[in-house]
C-alpha cells in the first residue's frame, strides 16, 4: 500500500489510539490530519490527510479572456499568488508565441527571488520553528530541552546563541528574538518584492508579455540596499538550522525516521535565463535546462529526467478518494503535444473538473484534493512525487544535474555551493548544501534556509544584469501580442513550496480549459485509485513517535513536524481516521497548553 517500505520493529501487542488535528494550525489553508497511533510500539500506523475547501478555479475560468488568467490564478494562494501569476504568464507566452524583453525577465526573477526569501523566512521562523521552540520542546520532550541547555551550539560564533536551548528560546512565539526579527525581515523582503511586482501577494505589474514596472535605477538600488541589510540574517539562519537539526539527530537517535519517505522528488525549475528562454514548446527542453534552478524527477536518489517535455507528458491527475466525478469519457482537448507526442486523458490539458460535494468517508472519498501522480514509464508506476516542501527538491535536483554555474551559485558533485558577500557583521561566506542521506522531516527543514541563501545569491546576479541592461539603455519591459484563435500552452515554475505547472487550452480566443497544478495537491493528495497514499500520509504513516507524553496528554509534535516540513499551503485540509473495521479504543484531539502568545 505505502510507497515507503515499512520499518522493522520488535512488535508488542498494539495499543491503538485515534488522534486527529483539524484544522492544522500555522499553515496556509484548511488541513485536517487523522491518524492511528500505536502507543505500545510508539509509531503511527495510519494517516489520512484531507482538504476541506473547494473553490473551483478551473470551473469558473472557462470561457474567460485568457489574458485574465494571471490575475485570477494569483488568487489561488494568499502567500505565493505571484508564483501563479508568473507561471500563468509563462503558459500564456507559449500560447501567444511571444517572449518578454530581457529586462522584464530580470524584474520577474528579482520579484520571485524576494518571494522565496520572504515566504521561506516567515514560514520557517514564525510557523515551523514554533514546533522546535523552547515552549514546545518543554511540553513534549523535557529531557531533550534539559540536554539542549547543556549543549553548546557548534556554530555559535556565527549566530551568537551559546547553547541549543538559547536557539530554541529565540523561536518562542511573539517573544523570542528570532521570531520577532523574522517578522521584520519578512516585511523588508516583501518591500523588495513590491519594488518589482507592485503588491504582495497578488502582484499588480505582471502581464503576459512582460511587466509594467519601470526599470528606474531607484528600484534596483532600493532592492540591493535592503538585500545587503538582511544578508547576515540569512547566513545566521543557515547556521541556526544546522545546529538545531544536527542536535535533534544526536539527542534523539532514530529521528531520521521521522517523516522519512522513499526518495521521490519533483522540481519543475525556477528563474528563466532570458538569453535562452523563448517559451516555445519545441525548445522547452533546452530552456528548461537553462533555468537557474534545474528541473528534475528524482527516484531513489537517481535523476530520472530533467527534460520539461518528459516531465509535462508524465503528469497524471488521478482520482480515487476525491469529491469529483471522473472525466475520462469526455472529449479530449489535446490529443498530441506540439512535438507530436500523445497526451494522456488524465493529463491536466484534458481534465474536466466536476465537483460532487458529498459525505466524508475515510474508506471512500475524503478530500477536495485530487491525486496528481507522475507516470514512470520504466516501471509502469504512477509515482506520488513530493516536493520536499520546495527547497529540498530544488537543491537536490540542481545538485544532481550540475547544470547551474553562475556568478554566485554553482552545482554538481552532489552539492550546491552558494557564495554570499560581506554583510554588516559577518564576512563573505560560502555555504555548501550536500545531498543528504534521507528525504525526511529534518532535511526538508534544513534545506529551507539554504534556499533562502540561494535566492539571495541569485538576486545579486539579477541585479547586476539588470543594471547592465539599464546602463545600455535596454529598458523595454513589455512585448505586445495578439491572442490567437486556438492555442495551447504550459508553464513550469517553482512555487515557494514546490512544483507548479499551469496548463491552458484556448479556443475562439477564450479559455477552453485551464488547470493549474500547485505543489500542495502533489504533497497533500489522498489515496489514489491504486490505493497509493499521498506524500503527507505516506511520510506520517509508519513514523516513530519520540514525544515523551502518553496518550492522555499527547501533543503529536513529531507528526506535526512532519506535516509542516512540507510547508502545507492548502487553501484545504488534512484528516486522520481509524482503519476500517477496527475497534476504536480512544478518540481525542491533542491539546497544547498555549501558555505562549
Amino acid at each position: 500500500m505505502t510507497t515507503t517500505e515499512s520499518r522493522p520493529t520488535g512488535r508488542k501487542p498494539a495499543q491503538i489510539v485515534d488522534m486527529s488535528w483539524d484544522p492544522v494550525t500555522r499553515i496556509i489553508g484548511n488541513l485536517g490530519i487523522y491518524t492511528k497511533i500505536d502507543f505500545a510500539n510508539r509509531e503511527v500506523t495510519e494517516c489520512h490527510s484531507t482538504s476541506s475547501l473547494f473553490r473551483g478555479y478551473s470551473v469558473f475560468m472557462k470561457g474567460k479572456d485568457p489574458r485574465d488568467a494571471g490575475f485570477i490564478t494569483s488568487r489561488i494562494c494568499g502567500i505565493c499568488g505571484d508564483n501563479h501569476t508568473t507561471c500563468s504568464n509563462y503558459a500564456q507566452q507559449m500560447a501567444y508565441g511571444i517572449k518578454p524583453p530581457p529586462m522584464a525577465e530580470h524584474i520577474t526573477n528579482l520579484g520571485e527571488a524576494a518571494e522565496y526569501m520572504f515566504d521561506h523566512t516567515i514560514y520557517q521562523d514564525n510557523l515551523l520553528f514554533v514546533d522546535y521552540c523552547e515552549a514546545m520542546v518543554k511540553a513534549t520532550n523535557p529531557g531533550v530541552l534539559a540536554r539542549a541547555e547543556r549543549t553548546a551550539s557548534p556554530r555559535g560564533d556565527i549566530h551568537g546563541y551559546r547553547t541549543i536551548a538559547d536557539i530554541m528560546r529565540s523561536y518562542n512565539p511573539f517573544e523570542g528574538e528570532v521570531y520577532k526579527e523574522a517578522l521584520k525581515i519578512s516585511r523588508v523582503t516583501r518591500e523588495m518584492f513590491c519594488l518589482m511586482e507592485g503588491r504582495h501577494v497578488h502582484p499588480s505589474t505582471l502581464y503576459p508579455g512582460g511587466v509594467g514596472t519601470m526599470p528606474q535605477p531607484g528600484i534596483f538600488t532600493d532592492y540591493l540596499s535592503r538585500l545587503m541589510h538582511i544578508i547576515d540574517f540569512v547566513k545566521k539562519s543557515v547556521a541556526m538550522a544546522d545546529d538545531i537539526f544536527d542536535f535533534f539527530y544526536e539527542a534523539l537517535p532514530g529521528y531520521e525516521e521521522v517523516g522519512r519517505r522513499r526518495i521521490l522528488l519533483g522540481c519543475w525549475g525556477a528563474w528563466q535565463d532570458p538569453a535562452v528562454a523563448d517559451y516555445r514548446y519545441a525548445t522547452m527542453n533546452e530552456w528548461g535546462k537553462a533555468m537557474y534552478v534545474t528541473p528534475g524527477v528524482i527516484v531513489d536518489g537517481k535523476l530520472v529526467t530533467n527534460d520539461l517535455v518528459d516531465i509535462n507528458l508524465g503528469i497524471r491527475i488521478m482520482l480515487g478518494s476525491s469529491f469529483y466525478d471522473d472525466w475520462v469519457n469526455e472529449q479530449p482537448f489535446v490529443t498530441h503535444d506540439p512535438l507530436g507526442n500523445p497526451v494522456d486523458m488524465r493529463h491536466p490539458w484534458n481534465q474536466t473538473t466536476v465537483p460532487v460535494p458529498q459525505k466524508r468517508e475515510f474508506d471512500g472519498n475524503y478530500s477536495w484534493v485530487m491525486s496528481p501522480r507522475w507516470y514512470h514509464k520504466e516501471t509502469d508506476k504512477h509515482l506520488a512525487l513530493d516536493t520536499g516542501g520546495g527547497p529540498l527538491a530544488r537543491l537536490w535536483s540542481t545538485a544532481l544535474s550540475g547544470l547551474v554555474d553562475t556568478r554566485y551559485v554553482s552545482s554538481g558533485g552532489g552539492s550546491v555551493r552558494i557564495q554570499l558577500p560581506k554583510g554588516e557583521s559577518l564576512p563573505e561566506t560560502t555555504l555548501e548544501w550536500r545531498i543528504p542521506q534521507w528525504s525526511n522531516t529534518i532535511e526538508r527543514g534544513r534545506a529551507r534556509p539554504y534556499f533562502v541563501a540561494y535566492a539571495a545569491a541569485m538576486a545579486l546576479q539579477f541585479l547586476e544584469e539588470s543594471m547592465e541592461l539599464l546602463r545600455a539603455g535596454e529598458t523595454k519591459v513589455f512585448q505586445d501580442f495578439e491572442v490567437p484563435d486556438e492555442a495551447i500552452g504550459c508553464g513550469f515554475h517553482e512555487a515557494v513550496r514546490g512544483v507548479l505547472s499551469h496548463h491552458l487550452v484556448i479556443k475562439d480566443k477564450k479559455i477552453a480549459n485551464y488547470h493549474p497544478y500547485p505543489p500542495t495537491p502533489w504533497n497533500a493528495s489522498p489515496r489514489d485509485i491504486y490505493g497509493t497514499p499521498g506524500p503527507y500520509e505516506d511520510a506520517v504513516q509508519g513514523q516513530p513517535i519520540f514525544e515523551e507524553n502518553g496518550p492522555d496528554d499527547f501533543k503529536g509534535v513529531d507528526i506535526m513536524r512532519t506535516v509542516r516540513s512540507f510547508d502545507p499551503c492548502l487553501p484545504c485540509g488534512v484528516h486522520m481516521y481509524m482503519g476500517k473495521g477496527k475497534t476504536l479504543n480512544v478518540v481525542h484531539s491533542p491539546t497544547y497548553g498555549a501558555n505562549h502568545g
Partner: protein
C-alpha cells in the same frame, strides 16, 4: 418585524453602544475558512503602522488587551485545542467579548443536495463530519461584539463569486443581511481589497478596538460599509500618473510611464487609496508603479472589470473628451516650461553687477 420597529431597535442598540462601558479585554476570533486564499492574514503580517504584534503585545496605548486567535499564527498544535475559544463563543461561554473576523467568500451551502460541503472549519462533534463555515457564521455572528470582513471575498464575494462559479459564493453582507447589527449595535465593518492593504486593515481594526475601549465613536462607514476615510476617494485621485490623463497623454502599452487608462486601468472609477498610500512603507501600489487597476476593492469585482487588459468602455469617451483640452494645455505648458528653463540674464562673470541692486531703494 416591521422595518419601523427594526429601525427603532437598531437605534436603541446604537444608543446603547454609544454609552457602553469600556472593554478591558477582547478576543479576536479570526476565521479564514471561507472561500479564501489566506492572503488577507498574510497581508496583515506585513503591516507596520501598527504591526499585529504591536497590538497583541499591548504596545499601542488605550486599547483593550487583545487575544488574537488566528489559524496561521496560532502557537497551538491545532484541532480541538485551537478550536476551544470558537466552541466557547458558539455556546456563549467565552469569558470576553469577541470580534469575529471573516476572511473568504461565504459559499451557498443550500445549493448542495444531500451531504457534502464546500468549505469547513473543524468537525461537528456529533457526526464527525466537517463543520461548515456557514454553521460557524450562524452561531457566532449573533453573539459577536463586532463583525469585520477582511478582504473583497468576505466583503462582497470577490473572485470566488465570479460568473460561472459552482459554489454560489457571496459576501458576508449578502449572507447576514446588509442590515445586520452586532451586539454592540455595529454594522459589518467591511475592509475590501484583494488582498487588504496591510495598514488599511490595521487602522480600521485599531479604530474598532478604540471604540471597544470606550474612547472613540464607531468607525465612520459609507453605504457599502467601508471606512470612509480610506475608500472615499478614487484610485485616480491619488495616482501620480493622473496628471498625464489631464494632459491627454496616454500610454499605449505597458512600456510607458504614463496614464494607463488605454491599457486597462479602471482607476478613475474605483474607490481605493493604494496609489496614494503605496503597498508597504510607501513602496509599490498599482497604476502608480505600472500595474493597471483591476477594481479589486469593489463590489463589482472581478466581472465588471474583465477583460482586465482592455480599455474600460468609459475610458474611450472620457479620453476623447479630454483630448482637445489636454493637447492645448500640454503645448502651452511646453512653452512655459521652455521659458522657465532659462536663467535670468544678470547671472554672469562680467565686471559689472546687473541684478538691479540698490541699497537705498524705496517704494
Amino acid at each position: 418585524m416591521t422595518s419601523e420597529s427594526h429601525t427603532t431597535a437598531a437605534r436603541e442598540r446604537i444608543e446603547r453602544s454609544e454609552e457602553h462601558e469600556g472593554i478591558d479585554e477582547i478576543t479576536i476570533l479570526w476565521i479564514s475558512e471561507g472561500m479564501s486564499c489566506d492572503g488577507d492574514t498574510v497581508s496583515l503580517t506585513a503591516a507596520m503602522q501598527p504591526s499585529i504584534e504591536d497590538v497583541v503585545l499591548g504596545l499601542i496605548p488605550g486599547l483593550p488587551k487583545v487575544n488574537l486567535v488566528n489559524k496561521v499564527l496560532s502557537p497551538s498544535l491545532g484541532g480541538e485545542d485551537f478550536l476551544t475559544p470558537y466552541r466557547q463563543a458558539a455556546r456563549g461561554e467565552l469569558d470576553t467579548p469577541f470580534i469575529l473576523v471573516i476572511e473568504g467568500s461565504v459559499p451557498n451551502q443550500d445549493i448542495i443536495e444531500g451531504d457534502g460541503f464546500w468549505t469547513s472549519f473543524g468537525n461537528d462533534p456529533a457526526t464527525g463530519q466537517p463543520q461548515t463555515i456557514n454553521w460557524w457564521i450562524d452561531q457566532l455572528a449573533p453573539k459577536a461584539w463586532a463583525v469585520v470582513a477582511a478582504g473583497t471575498c468576505a466583503t462582497y464575494g470577490g473572485i470566488h463569486g465570479m460568473a460561472g462559479n459552482p459554489t454560489g459564493s457571496m459576501g458576508l453582507g449578502d449572507y447576514l443581511g446588509w442590515d445586520y447589527r452586532s451586539t454592540a449595535g455595529l454594522p459589518i465593518v467591511n475592509v475590501p481589497g484583494c488582498p487588504i492593504q496591510p495598514e488599511n486593515f490595521m487602522e480600521t481594526l485599531v479604530w474598532v478596538l478604540q471604540h471597544a475601549a470606550g474612547d472613540a465613536p464607531p468607525p465612520p462607514l459609507d453605504h457599502m460599509l467601508r471606512p470612509q476615510w480610506l475608500f472615499g476617494k478614487t484610485v485616480h485621485e491619488g495616482c501620480d500618473r493622473g496628471s498625464y490623463y489631464e494632459q491627454a497623454d496616454f500610454g499605449l502599452d505597458y512600456n510607458s510611464p504614463k496614464c494607463m487608462v488605454k491599457t486597462g486601468c479602471w482607476g478613475p472609477v474605483v474607490n481605493c487609496n493604494v496609489p496614494k498610500r503605496g503597498w508597504m512603507a510607501g513602496i509599490g501600489g498599482c497604476p502608480n508603479v505600472g500595474g493597471i487597476c483591476i477594481g479589486c476593492t469593489m463590489p463589482g469585482f472581478p466581472d465588471a472589470f474583465m477583460p482586465f487588459m482592455d480599455e474600460p468602455p468609459g475610458g474611450t469617451l472620457s479620453s476623447m473628451v479630454i483630448k482637445p483640452y489636454g493637447a492645448i494645455i500640454r503645448r502651452l505648458r511646453g512653452v512655459t516650461n521652455e521659458m522657465v528653463n532659462h536663467e535670468p540674464k544678470w547671472r554672469h562673470r562680467k565686471n559689472k553687477l546687473t541684478s538691479g541692486y540698490d541699497p537705498y531703494w524705496r517704494p
